[in-house]
């Protein structure tokens, strides 16, 4: 071969080129680079991927037509018979109503609370999350004299955004600017507060922290800088102080803002020398399901405070077939809608059984989807816990750790709930997964890595009553 290559140099070159292609496959490297780009900018190739997936599931669709089970409309009586999801959702709605009617101690008697669900969230701002909540209520529906401060339970979360006459139409949704909202060129809303320290309250002003800080809010202008410098590493509550002559408007006294977080250096004796005093909000934006607006009056008729979870969207009855998969969750469902017209399904949409969440679409397209059951490891969920001791609902976020059979284990953000048993629901509404869908009974426990929830998420045996949900406000979006 060597002698042949010596006689014919071009043969040697082409053989070397072929060998080079084998060692350095340029096409493979180029496609890997394209895959990295698709990962960073998923929107760029989503249409191509969706078209390929739609083609690739054609045999599965044909198989589903032959073997899938047709869904029946899940009427109330059927759902009542199948499981207790509806009763659980009723209990949550009642408890939410009761919580909304509970008046924090500092709120003046001339106001009555309206519980308004959050419709969508503004742009995420780093670790702090969204800085704006858009409510399911037009700004024009708010009566004159509505208080600017907005609460969740006894927690101050932010202030009603002033109406922008130029930009907002007649039906513009009311917006809440959260306490950490900071906009270039606009003075942030500073909140007079006090830190409930062991040796008495320490007055401070709470304002948005900078984007590089570890916490969304910081305390400035302490009334007693010496005490602020010796406050240590505890986690006392930070609450509104309700200054009578607050130049930015009156604010009730005693509303919780969050827990103090002291950033600093620890000296040899173990004492913390503070560099900054920060506040971790008591209600993170991702977990807020509904807020309370305070309107003047004694018994004002507000909007319907808590609607049924599936009220504001479209349900597509589904034909389902079970797919075996090798992942730890072990099962997927291939679902198709009965009609194709206007049945664009989206990834992340909820598959429901009555008012129980079964799973979400991991892959979706025109009239089809592959559903992963609730509890995919690594996915974060806003959850609402209804404590077994009769307390108010607790809104949190949680990350799925694993699913074993019907048992889903979630790592809970924040402290464990006081009541170790109760019912769990989907929390703050996310696109195509409404708030308030029943997940199952939970048992909370503490581990070295923080509190965890064990949810008994029973997969319905009767797969014939499954339906796919699509939110009303997303129906007009481009595909």
């Amino acid at each position: 071969m060597m002698s042949r290559a010596r006689r014919n140099p071009s043969f040697g070159q082409s053989a070397a080129a072929a060998q080079g292609r084998q060692v350095f496959p340029v096409a493979l490297y180029a496609s890997l680079l394209a895959a990295v780009l698709a990962l960073v900018q998923p929107a760029a190739l989503r249409a191509v991927e969706s078209a390929c997936a739609t083609l690739q599931v054609l045999p599965l669709r044909a198989q589903g037509l032959l073997s899938g089970r047709v869904a029946r409309a899940a009427d109330d009586a059927e759902v009542q018979r199948i499981d207790g999801a509806m009763r659980a959702v009723d209990a949550l709605r009642a408890r939410r109503l009761a919580a909304a009617r509970r008046r924090p101690a500092g709120v003046p008697l001339g106001f009555v609370g309206w519980s308004v669900p959050v419709q969508s969230r503004g742009v995420e701002r780093g670790r702090a999350g969204a800085s704006e909540l858009r409510l399911a209520l037009p700004r024009s529906a708010l009566p004159a004299g509505t208080a600017p401060w907005v609460t969740v339970g006894d927690v101050l979360i932010g202030f009603l955004a002033p109406r922008d006459e130029a930009a907002d139409g007649e039906d513009a949704a009311a917006c809440v600017r959260l306490l950490h909202a900071a906009e270039r060129g606009v003075l942030p809303r500073r909140v007079p507060a006090w830190i409930a320290a062991d040796d008495g309250p320490l007055p401070v002003v709470v304002e948005p922290a900078s984007s590089i800080d570890a916490h969304p809010l910081r305390c400035v202008l302490p009334a007693d800088p010496y005490r602020a410098a010796t406050i240590g590493a505890g986690e006392p509550e930070v609450m509104t102080s309700g200054l009578v002559d607050d130049p930015l408007g009156p604010l009730p006294r005693g509303l919780r803002i969050g827990k103090l977080r002291v950033e600093g250096y620890r000296d040899a004796a173990g004492h913390v020398v503070p560099v900054g005093l920060f506040v971790e909000p008591a209600s993170p934006p991702a977990s807020i399901h509904s807020v309370v607006l305070w309107v003047p009056g004694e018994r004002a008729a507000g909007p319907a405070p808590v609607s049924r979870p599936l009220a504001d969207g479209t349900l597509f009855t589904a034909r389902s077939s079970r797919l075996p998969v090798a992942s730890s969750v072990r099962v997927r469902w291939f679902v198709t809608t009965e009609v194709l017209a206007d049945a664009w399904l989206r990834e992340g949409a909820a598959l429901v059984h009555g008012e129980r969440l079964v799973g979400v679409l991991a892959t979706a397209g025109l009239g089809y989807g592959v559903v992963a059951p609730f509890g995919q490891p690594g996915r974060s969920w806003p959850v609402t816990l209804l404590p077994g001791d009769g307390g108010p609902p607790i809104d949190r976020t949680a990350r799925a750790l694993r699913r074993e059979g019907t048992n889903v284990v979630l790592a809970l953000d924040g402290p464990a709930p006081g009541a170790r048993q109760g019912l769990a629901f989907t929390g703050a509404s996310i696109p195509d997964v409404p708030a308030g869908l029943f997940l199952g009974a939970y048992v909370a426990s503490d581990t070295a890595d923080g509190p965890v929830l064990d949810i008994d998420h029973v997969t319905p045996e009767d797969e014939s009553a499954l339906a796919i949900f699509r939110h009303a406000e997303r129906e007009g979006e481009a595909r």
């Binding site: 496959p25 096409a27 895959a35 990962l39």
Partner: protein, 161 residues
């Protein structure tokens, strides 16, 4: 062309078979590793990207993570192994077992790295254990051998002098 057509539509079924076997057997036969082994050692170099892309599309339909994550988790280990074709002309069972062990060790961490980068949930917990690596190292070459005699895969085979 018929090979591409068949492989494009059959790829999801390969992973459904993997799921069926995982439910029936006490251990998991990682057919994604078998596909990667085929791509690394037996498929024509020019056909490797398309071959892996079809597999990634099929896998993304049934498992967590989008196509890009699956393509990268399969494509990067294969790109590392491709030069081994020059060194190991014979491709004996020993070489195949070593390559399968490498694939079992690397595919999971690569997938979890890119999934974390793009904030996608990907379940790699089961694939990371040493017993899973051992099972894949032993069974993936056998699975790859079985796949090689099936119709679509034979059409992608490297023609050797």
């Amino acid at each position: 062309m018929i090979g591409w057509f068949l492989w494009f539509f059959l790829a999801p079924y390969l992973f459904l078979v993997e799921g069926l076997l995982a439910g029936a057997l006490p251990f998991r036969i990682d057919l994604a590793a078998a596909v990667c082994l085929l791509a690394a050692l037996f498929v024509r170099t020019g056909a490797v990207p398309g071959f892996l892309l079809c597999a990634a599309l099929g896998r993304a339909l049934l498992e967590d993570g989008d196509t890009a994550v699956h393509f990268l988790s399969m494509g990067i280990p294969v790109a590392v192994l491709l030069p081994a074709r020059l060194a190991f002309v014979e491709r004996s069972w020993t070489i195949q077992v070593l390559c399968a062990a490498f694939l079992a060790l690397t595919m999971g961490p690569v997938a979890s790295f890119f999934a974390e980068l793009s904030r996608q949930p990907v379940d790699v917990a089961a694939a990371g254990s040493w017993s899973a690596v051992l099972v894949t190292a032993l069974l993936a070459p056998a699975a790859a051998g079985a796949l090689r005699i099936l119709p679509p895969f034979g059409l992608f085979a490297e023609r050797r002098a």
